[in-house]
Amino acid sequence: MSKINDYRAIVGDDEVDELCILADRLKGKSVQNINSTAVGGGVAEILSRMIPLLRDLGVDASWDVIKGDERFFAITKKIHNALHGLGVDISQSDLDYFQEVNRQNCELMDLFGDIVFIHDPQPIGLVARREHRESKWIWRCHIDISDPQEATMNFLRDYINKYDAAVFSAPIFGRSDLSIKQILISPSIDPLSEKNRELPPETIDSIVDRYDLDRDRPIVTQISRFDYLKDPMGVIEVYKKVKTHIDCQLVLAGGGATDDPEGPRILDQIKSVAEMDPDIHVIYLPPSSDIEINALQRASTVILQKSLREGFGLTVSEALWKAKPVIASAVGGIPLQIAHKHSGILTCSVAGTAHYLKELLSDPEYAIKLGENGREHVKNNFLITRHIKDYLSLFISLYYKGYLNYL
Protein backbone atom coordinates (compact mmCIF):
# COMPACT_ATOMS: atom_id res chain seq x y z
CA MET A 1 0.00 0.00 0.00
CA SER A 2 1.32 3.43 -0.91
CA LYS A 3 2.50 5.92 1.71
CA ILE A 4 1.94 9.63 1.43
CA ASN A 5 5.66 10.23 0.98
CA ASP A 6 5.58 8.08 -2.16
CA TYR A 7 3.67 10.91 -3.88
CA ARG A 8 6.49 13.42 -3.46
CA ALA A 9 8.09 12.29 -6.71
CA ILE A 10 4.85 12.97 -8.59
CA VAL A 11 3.33 16.10 -7.04
CA GLY A 12 6.34 17.64 -5.31
CA ASP A 13 7.55 18.06 -1.71
CA ASP A 14 5.61 21.30 -1.22
CA GLU A 15 2.26 19.61 -1.89
CA VAL A 16 2.90 16.72 0.48
CA ASP A 17 4.34 18.99 3.20
CA GLU A 18 1.22 21.12 3.11
CA LEU A 19 -1.05 18.08 3.27
CA CYS A 20 0.73 17.10 6.50
CA ILE A 21 0.19 20.60 7.91
CA LEU A 22 -3.49 20.53 7.00
CA ALA A 23 -4.03 17.02 8.40
CA ASP A 24 -2.49 18.10 11.67
CA ARG A 25 -5.50 20.41 12.16
CA LEU A 26 -7.80 17.38 12.37
CA LYS A 27 -6.01 15.81 15.31
CA GLY A 28 -8.49 14.38 17.80
CA LYS A 29 -11.34 14.06 15.27
CA SER A 30 -12.44 10.72 13.84
CA VAL A 31 -13.78 10.49 10.29
CA GLN A 32 -16.09 7.55 9.62
CA ASN A 33 -16.86 6.79 5.96
CA ILE A 34 -19.90 4.67 5.14
CA ASN A 35 -21.02 3.28 1.77
CA SER A 36 -22.79 0.22 0.42
CA THR A 37 -20.09 -1.91 -1.19
CA ALA A 38 -16.53 -2.81 -0.31
CA VAL A 39 -15.57 -3.80 -3.87
CA GLY A 40 -16.47 -2.73 -7.38
CA GLY A 41 -17.37 0.72 -8.63
CA GLY A 42 -15.67 4.07 -8.23
CA VAL A 43 -16.64 4.82 -4.63
CA ALA A 44 -15.15 1.66 -3.18
CA GLU A 45 -12.05 2.18 -5.30
CA ILE A 46 -11.49 5.72 -4.07
CA LEU A 47 -12.10 4.78 -0.42
CA SER A 48 -9.77 1.80 -0.57
CA ARG A 49 -6.92 4.12 -1.62
CA MET A 50 -7.89 7.20 0.37
CA ILE A 51 -8.42 5.72 3.84
CA PRO A 52 -4.86 4.35 4.22
CA LEU A 53 -3.40 7.66 3.00
CA LEU A 54 -5.52 9.67 5.45
CA ARG A 55 -4.31 7.36 8.23
CA ASP A 56 -0.73 7.79 7.08
CA LEU A 57 -1.30 11.54 7.43
CA GLY A 58 -2.37 10.96 11.03
CA VAL A 59 -6.12 11.31 10.45
CA ASP A 60 -8.31 8.88 12.40
CA ALA A 61 -10.19 7.68 9.30
CA SER A 62 -12.25 4.51 8.97
CA TRP A 63 -14.61 2.89 6.48
CA ASP A 64 -17.76 0.82 7.14
CA VAL A 65 -20.22 -0.81 4.76
CA ILE A 66 -23.98 -1.12 5.32
CA LYS A 67 -25.74 -4.45 4.98
CA GLY A 68 -28.52 -5.03 2.47
CA ASP A 69 -30.12 -7.93 0.65
CA GLU A 70 -30.84 -8.42 -3.04
CA ARG A 71 -34.17 -6.62 -2.83
CA PHE A 72 -32.60 -3.61 -1.15
CA PHE A 73 -29.92 -3.28 -3.83
CA ALA A 74 -32.49 -3.72 -6.61
CA ILE A 75 -34.36 -0.76 -5.09
CA THR A 76 -31.23 1.35 -4.63
CA LYS A 77 -30.33 0.67 -8.27
CA LYS A 78 -33.76 2.01 -9.22
CA ILE A 79 -33.11 5.08 -7.08
CA HIS A 80 -29.73 5.47 -8.74
CA ASN A 81 -31.32 5.32 -12.20
CA ALA A 82 -34.12 7.71 -11.18
CA LEU A 83 -31.55 10.24 -9.95
CA HIS A 84 -29.91 9.93 -13.35
CA GLY A 85 -33.27 10.93 -14.83
CA LEU A 86 -34.38 7.56 -16.21
CA GLY A 87 -38.08 6.70 -16.14
CA VAL A 88 -38.14 4.13 -13.35
CA ASP A 89 -41.13 2.99 -11.35
CA ILE A 90 -40.39 3.09 -7.63
CA SER A 91 -43.34 1.96 -5.53
CA GLN A 92 -44.24 3.02 -1.99
CA SER A 93 -43.44 -0.50 -0.91
CA ASP A 94 -39.93 -0.07 -2.41
CA LEU A 95 -39.45 3.15 -0.44
CA ASP A 96 -40.75 1.53 2.74
CA TYR A 97 -38.27 -1.32 2.34
CA PHE A 98 -35.43 1.11 1.62
CA GLN A 99 -36.25 2.94 4.86
CA GLU A 100 -36.58 -0.30 6.80
CA VAL A 101 -33.11 -1.51 5.73
CA ASN A 102 -31.64 1.88 6.65
CA ARG A 103 -33.37 1.62 10.05
CA GLN A 104 -31.90 -1.84 10.58
CA ASN A 105 -28.44 -0.56 9.71
CA CYS A 106 -28.92 2.33 12.14
CA GLU A 107 -29.46 -0.19 14.89
CA LEU A 108 -26.63 -2.50 13.85
CA MET A 109 -23.90 0.02 13.16
CA ASP A 110 -21.66 1.80 15.59
CA LEU A 111 -21.85 5.40 14.33
CA PHE A 112 -18.91 6.68 16.30
CA GLY A 113 -17.35 9.28 13.98
CA ASP A 114 -16.91 12.91 14.99
CA ILE A 115 -17.43 13.36 11.26
CA VAL A 116 -19.72 10.82 9.59
CA PHE A 117 -19.20 10.79 5.84
CA ILE A 118 -22.03 9.00 4.02
CA HIS A 119 -21.46 8.05 0.38
CA ASP A 120 -24.36 7.93 -2.11
CA PRO A 121 -28.08 7.29 -1.52
CA GLN A 122 -27.97 3.71 -0.22
CA PRO A 123 -27.00 4.60 3.39
CA ILE A 124 -28.52 8.11 3.35
CA GLY A 125 -31.09 7.22 6.02
CA LEU A 126 -28.42 6.65 8.67
CA VAL A 127 -28.64 10.37 9.33
CA ALA A 128 -31.70 9.60 11.46
CA ARG A 129 -29.22 8.60 14.15
CA ARG A 130 -27.60 12.04 14.29
CA GLU A 131 -30.26 13.27 16.72
CA HIS A 132 -28.40 11.32 19.35
CA ARG A 133 -24.97 12.78 18.75
CA GLU A 134 -23.19 16.10 18.38
CA SER A 135 -21.27 14.86 15.36
CA LYS A 136 -20.95 16.45 11.89
CA TRP A 137 -22.62 14.66 9.01
CA ILE A 138 -21.75 14.97 5.32
CA TRP A 139 -23.54 13.36 2.38
CA ARG A 140 -21.33 12.67 -0.61
CA CYS A 141 -23.27 12.28 -3.84
CA HIS A 142 -21.22 10.56 -6.55
CA ILE A 143 -24.17 10.56 -8.98
CA ASP A 144 -25.19 12.89 -11.79
CA ILE A 145 -28.29 14.57 -10.34
CA SER A 146 -28.56 17.35 -12.90
CA ASP A 147 -31.95 16.08 -14.10
CA PRO A 148 -33.40 13.66 -11.54
CA GLN A 149 -36.88 12.19 -11.35
CA GLU A 150 -38.65 14.71 -9.17
CA ALA A 151 -40.46 12.20 -6.94
CA THR A 152 -37.21 10.44 -6.04
CA MET A 153 -35.45 13.74 -5.38
CA ASN A 154 -38.35 14.80 -3.15
CA PHE A 155 -38.03 11.56 -1.19
CA LEU A 156 -34.29 12.01 -0.67
CA ARG A 157 -34.40 15.75 0.01
CA ASP A 158 -35.75 15.32 3.54
CA TYR A 159 -32.76 13.15 4.35
CA ILE A 160 -30.22 15.39 2.60
CA ASN A 161 -31.36 18.49 4.48
CA LYS A 162 -30.57 16.77 7.78
CA TYR A 163 -26.85 16.75 6.92
CA ASP A 164 -24.41 19.60 7.57
CA ALA A 165 -23.20 19.59 3.98
CA ALA A 166 -23.66 17.77 0.69
CA VAL A 167 -20.76 17.18 -1.68
CA PHE A 168 -21.20 16.99 -5.45
CA SER A 169 -18.72 16.25 -8.24
CA ALA A 170 -19.57 18.89 -10.86
CA PRO A 171 -21.02 22.44 -10.94
CA ILE A 172 -24.06 21.28 -12.90
CA PHE A 173 -25.14 19.13 -9.95
CA GLY A 174 -25.66 22.13 -7.66
CA ARG A 175 -29.30 22.50 -6.57
CA SER A 176 -31.47 25.42 -5.61
CA ASP A 177 -33.82 23.25 -3.53
CA LEU A 178 -31.47 22.23 -0.72
CA SER A 179 -31.20 24.14 2.53
CA ILE A 180 -27.71 22.94 3.44
CA LYS A 181 -24.24 23.92 2.29
CA GLN A 182 -23.32 22.34 -1.08
CA ILE A 183 -19.66 21.71 -1.78
CA LEU A 184 -17.97 20.92 -5.08
CA ILE A 185 -15.23 18.29 -4.90
CA SER A 186 -14.15 16.31 -7.93
CA PRO A 187 -13.06 12.73 -7.37
CA SER A 188 -9.58 11.58 -8.32
CA ILE A 189 -7.36 8.76 -9.46
CA ASP A 190 -4.39 7.32 -7.65
CA PRO A 191 -1.27 7.40 -9.84
CA LEU A 192 0.39 4.71 -7.71
CA SER A 193 -2.48 2.22 -7.72
CA GLU A 194 -2.29 -1.00 -9.68
CA LYS A 195 -4.71 0.53 -12.14
CA ASN A 196 -2.61 3.59 -12.91
CA ARG A 197 1.06 2.93 -12.14
CA GLU A 198 3.60 2.46 -14.92
CA LEU A 199 3.75 -1.11 -16.25
CA PRO A 200 6.67 -2.95 -17.83
CA PRO A 201 6.08 -3.57 -21.58
CA GLU A 202 6.21 -7.34 -21.09
CA THR A 203 3.27 -7.15 -18.63
CA ILE A 204 1.23 -5.20 -21.15
CA ASP A 205 2.16 -7.62 -23.93
CA SER A 206 1.23 -10.71 -21.93
CA ILE A 207 -2.19 -9.28 -21.02
CA VAL A 208 -2.87 -8.20 -24.59
CA ASP A 209 -1.94 -11.70 -25.76
CA ARG A 210 -4.17 -13.27 -23.13
CA TYR A 211 -7.17 -11.44 -24.57
CA ASP A 212 -6.15 -12.27 -28.13
CA LEU A 213 -5.71 -8.66 -29.26
CA ASP A 214 -3.60 -7.73 -32.27
CA ARG A 215 -1.05 -4.98 -31.48
CA ASP A 216 -0.52 -4.32 -35.20
CA ARG A 217 -4.01 -2.89 -35.67
CA PRO A 218 -5.61 0.00 -33.74
CA ILE A 219 -7.33 -0.92 -30.49
CA VAL A 220 -10.32 1.18 -29.43
CA THR A 221 -11.36 0.60 -25.83
CA GLN A 222 -14.13 1.48 -23.41
CA ILE A 223 -13.58 0.44 -19.82
CA SER A 224 -16.71 0.59 -17.69
CA ARG A 225 -19.22 -1.39 -15.71
CA PHE A 226 -21.73 -3.20 -17.94
CA ASP A 227 -24.51 -0.70 -17.48
CA TYR A 228 -27.04 0.92 -19.87
CA LEU A 229 -25.86 4.34 -18.72
CA LYS A 230 -22.39 3.61 -20.15
CA ASP A 231 -24.05 3.02 -23.56
CA PRO A 232 -22.11 -0.12 -24.60
CA MET A 233 -24.49 -0.66 -27.53
CA GLY A 234 -23.77 2.88 -28.70
CA VAL A 235 -20.05 2.12 -28.56
CA ILE A 236 -20.59 -0.92 -30.79
CA GLU A 237 -22.49 1.30 -33.26
CA VAL A 238 -19.57 3.74 -33.29
CA TYR A 239 -17.13 0.91 -33.90
CA LYS A 240 -19.21 -0.45 -36.78
CA LYS A 241 -19.30 2.97 -38.47
CA VAL A 242 -15.53 3.35 -38.19
CA LYS A 243 -14.72 -0.27 -39.06
CA THR A 244 -15.98 0.25 -42.61
CA HIS A 245 -13.11 2.74 -43.13
CA ILE A 246 -10.38 1.63 -40.71
CA ASP A 247 -9.50 -1.93 -39.71
CA CYS A 248 -9.64 -1.60 -35.94
CA GLN A 249 -10.57 -3.71 -32.93
CA LEU A 250 -13.01 -2.86 -30.15
CA VAL A 251 -12.53 -3.77 -26.50
CA LEU A 252 -15.46 -3.46 -24.09
CA ALA A 253 -14.05 -4.37 -20.71
CA GLY A 254 -15.34 -3.96 -17.20
CA GLY A 255 -16.76 -5.59 -14.16
CA GLY A 256 -19.68 -5.24 -11.84
CA ALA A 257 -20.36 -4.01 -8.35
CA THR A 258 -22.08 -5.99 -5.61
CA ASP A 259 -24.71 -3.25 -5.38
CA ASP A 260 -25.52 -3.39 -9.13
CA PRO A 261 -27.82 -6.30 -9.97
CA GLU A 262 -28.34 -5.25 -13.63
CA GLY A 263 -24.79 -5.96 -14.81
CA PRO A 264 -25.03 -9.68 -15.80
CA ARG A 265 -28.14 -9.13 -17.95
CA ILE A 266 -26.55 -6.28 -19.87
CA LEU A 267 -23.32 -8.25 -20.32
CA ASP A 268 -25.32 -11.09 -21.93
CA GLN A 269 -26.99 -8.65 -24.34
CA ILE A 270 -23.66 -7.18 -25.41
CA LYS A 271 -22.12 -10.62 -25.88
CA SER A 272 -24.93 -11.70 -28.15
CA VAL A 273 -24.31 -8.70 -30.41
CA ALA A 274 -20.53 -9.01 -30.26
CA GLU A 275 -20.24 -12.71 -31.06
CA MET A 276 -20.87 -11.97 -34.75
CA ASP A 277 -17.62 -9.98 -35.06
CA PRO A 278 -14.29 -11.50 -33.90
CA ASP A 279 -12.78 -8.01 -33.60
CA ILE A 280 -15.22 -7.06 -30.83
CA HIS A 281 -13.74 -8.25 -27.54
CA VAL A 282 -16.13 -8.26 -24.59
CA ILE A 283 -14.09 -8.88 -21.47
CA TYR A 284 -15.69 -9.39 -18.07
CA LEU A 285 -13.17 -8.45 -15.42
CA PRO A 286 -13.49 -9.53 -11.77
CA PRO A 287 -12.83 -6.87 -9.07
CA SER A 288 -9.14 -7.80 -8.75
CA SER A 289 -8.36 -6.90 -12.38
CA ASP A 290 -6.69 -3.53 -11.95
CA ILE A 291 -3.48 -4.53 -13.73
CA GLU A 292 -5.52 -5.91 -16.63
CA ILE A 293 -7.41 -2.60 -16.91
CA ASN A 294 -4.15 -0.68 -16.71
CA ALA A 295 -2.60 -2.81 -19.47
CA LEU A 296 -5.65 -2.62 -21.72
CA GLN A 297 -5.71 1.17 -21.41
CA ARG A 298 -1.98 1.42 -22.12
CA ALA A 299 -2.26 -0.90 -25.14
CA SER A 300 -5.17 1.10 -26.61
CA THR A 301 -4.88 3.51 -29.49
CA VAL A 302 -7.94 5.56 -28.51
CA ILE A 303 -10.14 5.32 -25.43
CA LEU A 304 -13.88 5.98 -25.48
CA GLN A 305 -16.23 6.86 -22.65
CA LYS A 306 -19.55 7.16 -24.40
CA SER A 307 -21.70 7.40 -21.28
CA LEU A 308 -25.27 8.70 -21.32
CA ARG A 309 -24.91 9.85 -17.69
CA GLU A 310 -21.91 9.96 -15.39
CA GLY A 311 -21.39 10.79 -11.74
CA PHE A 312 -17.94 11.89 -12.81
CA GLY A 313 -16.42 9.39 -15.23
CA LEU A 314 -13.05 8.70 -13.65
CA THR A 315 -12.08 6.27 -16.39
CA VAL A 316 -11.47 9.41 -18.44
CA SER A 317 -8.81 10.64 -15.99
CA GLU A 318 -7.32 7.14 -15.85
CA ALA A 319 -6.88 7.10 -19.61
CA LEU A 320 -5.58 10.68 -19.76
CA TRP A 321 -3.05 9.92 -17.02
CA LYS A 322 -1.66 7.28 -19.41
CA ALA A 323 -1.47 10.05 -22.04
CA LYS A 324 -4.10 8.33 -24.18
CA PRO A 325 -6.37 10.30 -26.54
CA VAL A 326 -9.92 10.13 -25.19
CA ILE A 327 -13.27 10.71 -26.86
CA ALA A 328 -16.01 11.04 -24.28
CA SER A 329 -19.57 12.26 -23.86
CA ALA A 330 -20.04 15.75 -22.47
CA VAL A 331 -22.00 14.52 -19.45
CA GLY A 332 -21.52 14.68 -15.68
CA GLY A 333 -17.98 15.53 -14.69
CA ILE A 334 -16.41 14.65 -18.03
CA PRO A 335 -16.27 18.28 -19.31
CA LEU A 336 -14.17 19.11 -16.22
CA GLN A 337 -11.64 16.50 -17.30
CA ILE A 338 -11.58 17.29 -21.00
CA ALA A 339 -11.21 20.69 -22.64
CA HIS A 340 -12.59 19.95 -26.10
CA LYS A 341 -9.85 19.61 -28.74
CA HIS A 342 -7.21 20.54 -26.16
CA SER A 343 -7.03 17.63 -23.73
CA GLY A 344 -9.42 15.27 -25.50
CA ILE A 345 -12.65 15.24 -27.50
CA LEU A 346 -16.17 15.84 -26.19
CA THR A 347 -19.13 14.48 -28.14
CA CYS A 348 -22.84 13.93 -27.64
CA SER A 349 -23.83 11.37 -30.30
CA VAL A 350 -22.85 8.15 -32.04
CA ALA A 351 -22.22 10.09 -35.26
CA GLY A 352 -19.96 12.63 -33.54
CA THR A 353 -18.02 9.96 -31.69
CA ALA A 354 -17.49 7.99 -34.91
CA HIS A 355 -16.38 11.13 -36.75
CA TYR A 356 -13.72 12.00 -34.16
CA LEU A 357 -12.62 8.40 -33.76
CA LYS A 358 -11.86 8.23 -37.47
CA GLU A 359 -9.99 11.52 -37.20
CA LEU A 360 -7.82 10.40 -34.28
CA LEU A 361 -7.06 7.02 -35.82
CA SER A 362 -6.03 8.80 -39.03
CA ASP A 363 -3.97 11.56 -37.40
CA PRO A 364 -1.71 10.00 -34.73
CA GLU A 365 0.23 13.23 -34.11
CA TYR A 366 -2.92 15.08 -33.12
CA ALA A 367 -3.97 12.12 -30.99
CA ILE A 368 -0.61 12.13 -29.19
CA LYS A 369 -0.83 15.87 -28.47
CA LEU A 370 -4.32 15.48 -26.98
CA GLY A 371 -3.05 12.70 -24.75
CA GLU A 372 -0.06 14.71 -23.53
CA ASN A 373 -2.21 17.73 -22.68
CA GLY A 374 -4.69 15.46 -20.94
CA ARG A 375 -2.01 13.94 -18.72
CA GLU A 376 -0.85 17.39 -17.62
CA HIS A 377 -4.42 18.44 -16.84
CA VAL A 378 -4.99 15.32 -14.72
CA LYS A 379 -1.70 15.83 -12.91
CA ASN A 380 -2.78 19.29 -11.83
CA ASN A 381 -6.41 18.62 -10.99
CA PHE A 382 -7.45 14.99 -10.60
CA LEU A 383 -4.85 13.13 -8.55
CA ILE A 384 -5.64 11.74 -5.14
CA THR A 385 -3.45 14.31 -3.33
CA ARG A 386 -5.73 17.14 -4.51
CA HIS A 387 -8.73 15.08 -3.44
CA ILE A 388 -7.30 14.53 0.05
CA LYS A 389 -6.59 18.25 0.32
CA ASP A 390 -10.22 19.03 -0.54
CA TYR A 391 -11.60 16.51 1.96
CA LEU A 392 -9.34 17.73 4.74
CA SER A 393 -10.42 21.32 3.99
CA LEU A 394 -14.06 20.24 4.06
CA PHE A 395 -13.74 18.42 7.38
CA ILE A 396 -11.95 21.37 8.98
CA SER A 397 -14.39 23.90 7.52
CA LEU A 398 -17.26 22.22 9.38
CA TYR A 399 -15.89 23.70 12.58
CA TYR A 400 -15.69 27.29 11.24
CA LYS A 401 -18.18 29.88 10.07
CA GLY A 402 -17.87 32.42 7.27
CA TYR A 403 -16.00 32.32 4.00
CA LEU A 404 -12.57 33.33 5.30
CA ASN A 405 -10.85 31.70 8.25
CA TYR A 406 -7.38 31.76 9.76
CA LEU A 407 -6.58 28.39 11.33
Partner: protein, 214 residues
Amino acid sequence: MTEGFHFYTQYHLLELLGLTARSPEDMLSCIKKVPVSSIYYHTHHFLQRHHYLSPEPPNDFAFWLMDALHLQSLGEEFLGVDTISFCNLEDLRGAFADILENHLLKGGENPNCMPGFEFHFLACYTLILPLPYTANNLQEFAELLRKVSIRSLYFHMFEARMRLGVRDNDFSQWMKGIGEEQLAHDISKLDPYSITLENLRGKIIRMVEDRVKN
Protein backbone atom coordinates in the same frame (compact mmCIF):
# COMPACT_ATOMS: atom_id res chain seq x y z
CA MET B 1 13.33 45.59 14.95
CA THR B 2 11.47 44.40 11.85
CA GLU B 3 10.06 40.91 12.04
CA GLY B 4 10.94 38.22 9.54
CA PHE B 5 8.53 37.31 6.75
CA HIS B 6 6.17 34.52 7.82
CA PHE B 7 4.88 32.40 4.96
CA TYR B 8 1.25 31.27 4.95
CA THR B 9 -0.69 29.01 2.65
CA GLN B 10 -4.35 28.84 1.79
CA TYR B 11 -6.89 26.27 0.68
CA HIS B 12 -10.05 26.92 -1.24
CA LEU B 13 -13.15 24.83 -0.76
CA LEU B 14 -15.74 25.43 -3.47
CA GLU B 15 -19.37 25.99 -2.67
CA LEU B 16 -22.18 25.38 -5.17
CA LEU B 17 -24.62 28.23 -4.69
CA GLY B 18 -27.45 26.59 -6.65
CA LEU B 19 -27.80 29.80 -8.70
CA THR B 20 -27.81 29.50 -12.46
CA ALA B 21 -27.85 32.13 -15.23
CA ARG B 22 -29.22 31.54 -18.72
CA SER B 23 -29.15 35.12 -20.01
CA PRO B 24 -27.39 38.44 -19.34
CA GLU B 25 -30.41 39.50 -17.28
CA ASP B 26 -30.12 36.37 -15.09
CA MET B 27 -26.40 37.02 -14.75
CA LEU B 28 -27.02 40.56 -13.55
CA SER B 29 -29.55 39.38 -10.99
CA CYS B 30 -27.15 36.73 -9.67
CA ILE B 31 -24.07 38.98 -9.67
CA LYS B 32 -26.00 41.40 -7.45
CA LYS B 33 -26.90 38.81 -4.86
CA VAL B 34 -24.05 36.28 -4.65
CA PRO B 35 -21.55 36.55 -1.80
CA VAL B 36 -18.40 38.49 -2.71
CA SER B 37 -16.43 35.28 -2.45
CA SER B 38 -18.29 34.21 -5.59
CA ILE B 39 -17.13 37.33 -7.46
CA TYR B 40 -13.66 36.54 -6.22
CA TYR B 41 -13.81 32.91 -7.34
CA HIS B 42 -15.07 33.65 -10.83
CA THR B 43 -12.38 36.26 -11.44
CA HIS B 44 -9.44 34.41 -9.89
CA HIS B 45 -9.76 30.62 -10.00
CA PHE B 46 -8.22 30.29 -13.46
CA LEU B 47 -4.95 31.55 -12.00
CA GLN B 48 -4.60 28.44 -9.87
CA ARG B 49 -6.44 25.87 -11.94
CA HIS B 50 -4.43 26.54 -15.07
CA HIS B 51 -1.22 27.72 -13.47
CA TYR B 52 0.81 25.62 -15.86
CA LEU B 53 -0.73 27.14 -18.99
CA SER B 54 -0.04 30.52 -20.46
CA PRO B 55 -2.65 32.68 -18.85
CA GLU B 56 -5.46 34.05 -20.88
CA PRO B 57 -7.29 36.96 -19.32
CA PRO B 58 -10.56 35.15 -18.71
CA ASN B 59 -12.88 35.85 -15.95
CA ASP B 60 -15.63 33.26 -16.05
CA PHE B 61 -18.30 35.85 -16.79
CA ALA B 62 -16.56 37.10 -19.92
CA PHE B 63 -15.84 33.59 -21.12
CA TRP B 64 -19.47 32.52 -20.70
CA LEU B 65 -20.91 35.62 -22.40
CA MET B 66 -18.68 35.04 -25.42
CA ASP B 67 -18.68 31.24 -25.50
CA ALA B 68 -22.23 30.29 -24.49
CA LEU B 69 -24.15 33.39 -25.63
CA HIS B 70 -21.87 34.58 -28.45
CA LEU B 71 -22.06 38.17 -27.14
CA GLN B 72 -18.54 39.08 -28.18
CA SER B 73 -18.69 42.78 -27.51
CA LEU B 74 -20.35 42.44 -24.08
CA GLY B 75 -17.81 39.76 -23.17
CA GLU B 76 -14.96 42.03 -24.18
CA GLU B 77 -16.30 44.73 -21.88
CA PHE B 78 -16.00 42.21 -19.03
CA LEU B 79 -12.48 41.31 -20.17
CA GLY B 80 -11.63 44.98 -20.12
CA VAL B 81 -12.32 45.31 -16.39
CA ASP B 82 -8.87 45.77 -14.86
CA THR B 83 -9.13 43.40 -11.90
CA ILE B 84 -5.81 44.50 -10.43
CA SER B 85 -7.03 48.09 -10.07
CA PHE B 86 -9.70 46.99 -7.58
CA CYS B 87 -8.81 46.55 -3.92
CA ASN B 88 -12.37 45.83 -2.99
CA LEU B 89 -14.57 43.02 -4.26
CA GLU B 90 -17.77 45.01 -3.81
CA ASP B 91 -16.39 47.60 -6.24
CA LEU B 92 -15.49 44.82 -8.67
CA ARG B 93 -19.02 43.42 -8.36
CA GLY B 94 -20.35 46.95 -9.05
CA ALA B 95 -18.23 47.26 -12.19
CA PHE B 96 -19.65 44.02 -13.62
CA ALA B 97 -23.21 44.96 -12.66
CA ASP B 98 -22.82 48.40 -14.31
CA ILE B 99 -21.73 46.80 -17.58
CA LEU B 100 -24.74 44.48 -17.65
CA GLU B 101 -27.18 47.20 -16.58
CA ASN B 102 -25.95 49.57 -19.30
CA HIS B 103 -26.15 46.81 -21.86
CA LEU B 104 -29.75 45.99 -20.96
CA LEU B 105 -30.80 49.65 -20.62
CA LYS B 106 -29.56 50.31 -24.13
CA GLY B 107 -31.73 47.46 -25.38
CA GLY B 108 -28.78 45.13 -25.91
CA GLU B 109 -29.38 41.49 -26.76
CA ASN B 110 -30.65 39.29 -23.94
CA PRO B 111 -30.66 35.74 -25.33
CA ASN B 112 -30.99 32.50 -23.39
CA CYS B 113 -28.15 30.03 -23.70
CA MET B 114 -28.68 26.52 -25.04
CA PRO B 115 -29.73 23.99 -22.38
CA GLY B 116 -26.62 22.53 -20.78
CA PHE B 117 -24.58 25.73 -21.19
CA GLU B 118 -25.92 27.60 -18.15
CA PHE B 119 -23.59 29.58 -15.89
CA HIS B 120 -23.36 27.96 -12.46
CA PHE B 121 -22.36 30.33 -9.67
CA LEU B 122 -19.77 29.06 -7.22
CA ALA B 123 -18.20 30.66 -4.16
CA CYS B 124 -15.14 29.65 -2.18
CA TYR B 125 -14.33 29.14 1.45
CA THR B 126 -10.75 30.04 2.23
CA LEU B 127 -8.75 28.42 5.00
CA ILE B 128 -5.47 30.16 5.83
CA LEU B 129 -2.67 28.34 7.63
CA PRO B 130 0.79 29.43 8.75
CA LEU B 131 3.69 27.49 7.26
CA PRO B 132 6.74 26.71 9.40
CA TYR B 133 8.92 28.99 7.24
CA THR B 134 10.19 32.43 8.21
CA ALA B 135 12.63 34.52 6.16
CA ASN B 136 14.84 36.87 8.13
CA ASN B 137 16.53 38.47 5.14
CA LEU B 138 16.21 38.65 1.36
CA GLN B 139 18.43 35.66 0.71
CA GLU B 140 16.36 33.43 2.97
CA PHE B 141 13.24 34.91 1.40
CA ALA B 142 14.32 33.84 -2.09
CA GLU B 143 15.21 30.33 -0.87
CA LEU B 144 11.88 29.87 0.86
CA LEU B 145 9.87 31.31 -2.02
CA ARG B 146 11.42 28.60 -4.16
CA LYS B 147 10.29 25.97 -1.64
CA VAL B 148 6.69 26.91 -0.81
CA SER B 149 3.69 25.74 -2.80
CA ILE B 150 2.07 27.76 -5.51
CA ARG B 151 -0.86 28.26 -3.11
CA SER B 152 1.39 30.15 -0.72
CA LEU B 153 2.59 32.46 -3.48
CA TYR B 154 -1.01 32.93 -4.54
CA PHE B 155 -2.07 33.80 -1.01
CA HIS B 156 0.57 36.49 -0.54
CA MET B 157 0.17 38.02 -4.00
CA PHE B 158 -3.60 37.81 -4.59
CA GLU B 159 -5.60 36.71 -1.57
CA ALA B 160 -4.15 39.22 0.83
CA ARG B 161 -4.60 42.10 -1.57
CA MET B 162 -8.07 41.45 -2.87
CA ARG B 163 -9.98 39.58 -0.21
CA LEU B 164 -8.32 40.85 2.93
CA GLY B 165 -8.43 44.43 1.69
CA VAL B 166 -4.69 45.02 2.05
CA ARG B 167 -3.52 47.67 -0.41
CA ASP B 168 -0.37 45.95 -1.51
CA ASN B 169 0.91 42.40 -1.80
CA ASP B 170 2.44 40.92 1.36
CA PHE B 171 5.95 40.64 -0.07
CA SER B 172 6.17 44.34 -0.93
CA GLN B 173 4.79 45.33 2.47
CA TRP B 174 7.47 43.33 4.28
CA MET B 175 10.22 44.60 2.00
CA LYS B 176 9.24 48.20 2.70
CA GLY B 177 9.51 47.35 6.40
CA ILE B 178 13.12 46.23 6.01
CA GLY B 179 14.08 49.31 3.99
CA GLU B 180 13.91 47.72 0.54
CA GLU B 181 11.64 50.40 -0.90
CA GLN B 182 12.74 50.06 -4.52
CA LEU B 183 12.42 46.27 -4.60
CA ALA B 184 9.02 46.54 -2.90
CA HIS B 185 7.95 49.07 -5.50
CA ASP B 186 9.19 46.90 -8.40
CA ILE B 187 7.27 43.85 -7.13
CA SER B 188 4.12 45.96 -6.60
CA LYS B 189 4.33 47.08 -10.20
CA LEU B 190 4.18 43.50 -11.55
CA ASP B 191 0.83 42.60 -13.06
CA PRO B 192 0.31 39.15 -11.56
CA TYR B 193 -2.81 38.60 -13.68
CA SER B 194 -0.86 38.51 -16.92
CA ILE B 195 1.69 35.83 -16.04
CA THR B 196 1.51 32.21 -14.86
CA LEU B 197 2.10 31.63 -11.16
CA GLU B 198 5.29 29.65 -11.78
CA ASN B 199 6.63 32.44 -13.98
CA LEU B 200 5.64 34.97 -11.34
CA ARG B 201 7.53 32.98 -8.71
CA GLY B 202 10.60 32.85 -10.94
CA LYS B 203 10.43 36.56 -11.69
CA ILE B 204 10.21 37.59 -8.03
CA ILE B 205 13.04 35.24 -7.07
CA ARG B 206 15.24 36.73 -9.80
CA MET B 207 14.43 40.29 -8.68
CA VAL B 208 15.27 39.46 -5.07
CA GLU B 209 18.47 37.59 -5.97
CA ASP B 210 19.62 40.45 -8.21
CA ARG B 211 19.08 42.83 -5.29
CA VAL B 212 21.06 40.53 -2.96
CA LYS B 213 23.97 40.37 -5.45
CA ASN B 214 24.07 44.14 -5.89
